[in-house]
Each structure stands twice: as structure tokens, then as C-alpha cells.
């Protein structure tokens, strides 16, 4: 049976791992390849790098980080942030990433999703959706540019459309919960996971192991992503997986040395 994945997320800016709250107030959390190797040894099922600087002049730094990581951590790596073209995606895959996550560029040009899927296969195309609950409580709107800009898009509709265009997975982040440690927005996750057949990765708000269980059980997520609770060693990957296993969810057993 397919395992539910636990995925540490490394937000990268200027060559360092950083973490903020609601996408701002960044704090340095370490060297990306070093953290990646640590997480692989501790039983992470996959890694996500999000280049939140994403400035064109920083691309070389990011590709170097991806390459150094691929030499040390033998688990899948998804890279997002600043991928605006098929050529950008090719460069990131060549550096050693397995998948690329598209966000702002996909909203600006949905055809980019199809173009990337046609060239590299849909399994390599993750669409990241940052969503914010509408003030009136009626659904969620898609926000872009690291949460700085609202769009007119309804998150669930956009999710369905990106899958139709070729998204192989969706990385769904609740901007309301990001970095707040108040739990995942399971309603948002359920609204999307019930409408698409691709895997949904839950993101934004993890506080403790039970939140991971809720993201899967209540939210219908196939994978769960978190950053600060792992970076700051508030909870181990093994503890999260143990809670998931105790709840009857299928997880990959953490290597003994790390458990």
C-alpha cells in the first residue's frame, strides 16, 4: 500500500535555509544540503526546496545547492521558486531535482503547466497553490508572489484546472496557517483532495504529530509537509511517523539508527 509521506520543507534564500511566519520575518535555519542529508537519514520520505528569494541573479546559487544536495541525500527532491519556463525547469532537473513546483508563473501563464508536463512528464510537475480563506468564509482565494498578491482565482477551481493542464501533484499551502503552528487547514485540503485524483501535499500550520494525522484523515492529504517543527527539532520525523502509524496510517518505517 502506498505510504503517506512526511516531507520537510526547506525555504531557501541567498543560499541558506530560512523560515518565516505567514511568509515574512525570516530566521536563518542552516545550510540546505546539510539539513537535507540530516532529514534523509532521519527518515524523511522526500524533500522540498522552495527558493523564496527567487531573484534571477540567485539562480546559480540555487542550482549549486540542488546539485550538492543530490550528491548527499538519496531521496526525492522537489524544487520550486522562480521557475518561469521549460528551460528553467530543465536546468533544475539537470542539477538533480526530481520534480519542479510551479506557483506564480503558472498563475500568470497556465500554459506553462502543459508545456512542462509535455516535456518532462506530469509526474515531474508539482503545482503549488497558496490559498487564503476569504474574509466572508466563502472559500479560498489563490495568492501569489509569496503571499504578497491576491488573484481572482478560487483555490478549488484553480486546483482542478491545473490538474487538467498536467499537474502531477498539488502542494497546497494555507497562508493563514503558514508558520503559525495552529494546525493544517483541513477544510481547504478536503475541498481540494475530494476533487482531484492526483496526490495532495498538505502545507502550512503543522504544530505536532497529530496535525499530520488530521491532514491525512480529515484533509485527505497523501503527503504532509512541514518546516519549522523539524528545523527547530520540536518534533522528529520518527515521532510524526509513529503518531501516523498509531492512527493506522501506512507510513514508511524510519531507519533504525534514526528512530
Amino acid at each position: 500500500m502506498l505510504r503517506r509521506r512526511v516531507i520537510p520543507c526547506l525555504d531557501v534564500a541567498n543560499g541558506r535555509v530560512v523560515k518565516g511566519t505567514r511568509f515574512v520575518d525570516l530566521v536563518d535555519e542552516g545550510d540546505p544540503p546539510e539539513l537535507a542529508e540530516r532529514y534523509a537519514a532521519e527518515g524523511a520520505d522526500e524533500l522540498v526546496f522552495l527558493d523564496i528569494g527567487a531573484a534571477p541573479e540567485g539562480r546559480g546559487t540555487l542550482l549549486d545547492i540542488v546539485e550538492r544536495t543530490a550528491r548527499r541525500a538519496f531521496i526525492p527532491l522537489t524544487v520550486g521558486g522562480g521557475v518561469r519556463s521549460v528551460e528553467d525547469m530543465r536546468d533544475v532537473l539537470r542539477a538533480g531535482a526530481d520534480k519542479v513546483s510551479l506557483n506564480t508563473a503558472a498563475v500568470a501563464d497556465p500554459g506553462l503547466i502543459s508545456a512542462c508536463a509535455a516535456r518532462f512528464g506530469r509526474q515531474a510537475v508539482v503545482v503549488a497553490i497558496d490559498a487564503r480563506r476569504r474574509p466572508d468564509g466563502q472559500g479560498w482565494e489563490v495568492v501569489v508572489k509569496g503571499g504578497r498578491e491576491a488573484t481572482a482565482l478560487e483555490a478549488v477551481d484553480w486546483a482542478e484546472r491545473t490538474v487538467a493542464l498536467g499537474a502531477g501533484e498539488l502542494l497546497v499551502t494555507s497562508m493563514d496557517r503558514d508558520g503559525t503552528r495552529s494546525g493544517f487547514d483541513t477544510e481547504l485540503l478536503r475541498a481540494i483532495s475530494s476533487r482531484v485524483e492526483v496526490a495532495v501535499i498538505a502545507s502550512g500550520g503543522a504544530a505536532g504529530p497529530l496535525d499530520f494525522v488530521a491532514a491525512v484523515r480529515e484533509g485527505g492529504a497523501d503527503a504532509v509537509l512541514a518546516a519549522s517543527i523539524f528545523h527547530r527539532r520540536i518534533h522528529s520525523i520518527a515521532a510524526v511517523k509513529q503518531a501516523m502509524a498509531d492512527a493506522g496510517l501506512p507510513v514508511r518505517v524510519v531507519p533504525e539508527a534514526a528512530a
Binding site: 502506498l2 520520505d45 526530481d98 506530469r122
Partner: protein, 240 residues
Amino acid sequence: MSAGSARDGRIDHGDPPTAAARPRFAVVDYGAGNLVSIEQALIRVGADVAIARDPAGLDGAHALVVPGVGAAAPAMERLRAAGLVEPIRGWIAAGRPYLGICLGLQLLFDGSDEDGAATLGVIPGRTTRLVDAPTLPHIGWNQVERVRDHELFAGIAPDADFYFVHSYAGAPEAERDDVVLARTTHGGSFVSAVARANLLGVQFHPERSGDDGLRLLTNVVALVRAGAAAGSATPSVALA
């Protein structure tokens, strides 16, 4: 195999390989994605790696690795453009060590339902879409249930998980065929590993499957080393 491919298959791969301490693996690059991970994983487990972009890239190699993800038709087109289709067929026909990963396994069958492409035709059967899958693509860690013992899985727990990324899988024509080594369940059940003499194929990604994946690749290196020592990996074996 056609007369044409047999003729083209009798290609000069240089001097017969010796039992090198670090056997040389040619990893075929035909633009189908990330090669860094398989290259680095093989180096980690004791192989020398040469990236092969044309037939000359196979010279002096002890083993051939065809990785890749994605669809069969563009893959076959790129292999053909690189002049690699007949050398790969010839390599397999000569009984030399071959490891197909994901698409590199699917290409061994006669053809793919994904886009109708004719593939290498080494194993009778077709590449078909996963049946009753709850999510597609099938992405993530899943159990590889062995149907028989093989050195490929030496030292790996029977319930070990490996990492998959695909929507299609090769279905051998004769299920009882001894080519099937392992199966995996995602909705329906599909063939996740095959082995026939020096021909190995896995639907999952050992280079992305953590310590168990590295163990499997270590086993491949050991098999190649042993084969080279015994002479079975030399190109002197008669073509089919």
C-alpha cells in the same frame, strides 16, 4: 530479433571488460530527466560511471543503465536520434548486464499503451496504465513484494519500501514467466521488478529510495563484478 538489429548489435564495445574493482557503468542520457541522482548513487556504491550520449559512450562499460521517467514515444525518438536503439538491443542480446529503471524497464517490452510507441521488444508484453489506482501518477513509497528470491534484493527486508513515480508499468505477456521478480499494489497489482540472467529492471527508483535503494544498487554492482569475473558479462556470448 531482426537480422538488421542483430547485425547492428554486433558493435565494438572495445576490449572485453575485466573484473574491475570498480566496474564501469554506462548511464544512458537521452534527455529524460535527472541523471545526477543515479550517477551519484552508483558512485556511492562502488561503481565508476560514464554518461553515454552515443554508441561510443558504451565502450569499455561493464554494465548499461537506462534510467528515465516519462513517456515511451519521445524516449524512443531520442534514443533513435542518438543512434542508441540498436546498440542497446545488441547489448541485451549479447547477454551483457543491463539495469532498466522506471522508463528504462518499460522500454524493454514490445510497446506502450501510453502513446502507442513500439519499444525495444526484449520482454514479450506491453506497458499498460495502472488499473484501479486511487491516485495517478503513483507517486511515493510503496512495498515491493518479491515473488521469488534474487540477489538483487540480498540483505533487504521483505517488507522494504521503495520510491515510485509513474502511471504505467510493463505487463509481461506470460505472468508465469520467470522474468517477474516482484509485484507492487496500488489499487491493482503490477510488476515492479524483473530479472532474467543479466537483464534487470525495476519500476521504482533505487537511486531515490534511501538506504534500501543504495543496498539494491550495491547488489547490482556485486552481480556485475561477479559476472565480469566469471566471463559471462563479456560480449563474446552469441547473439540471439
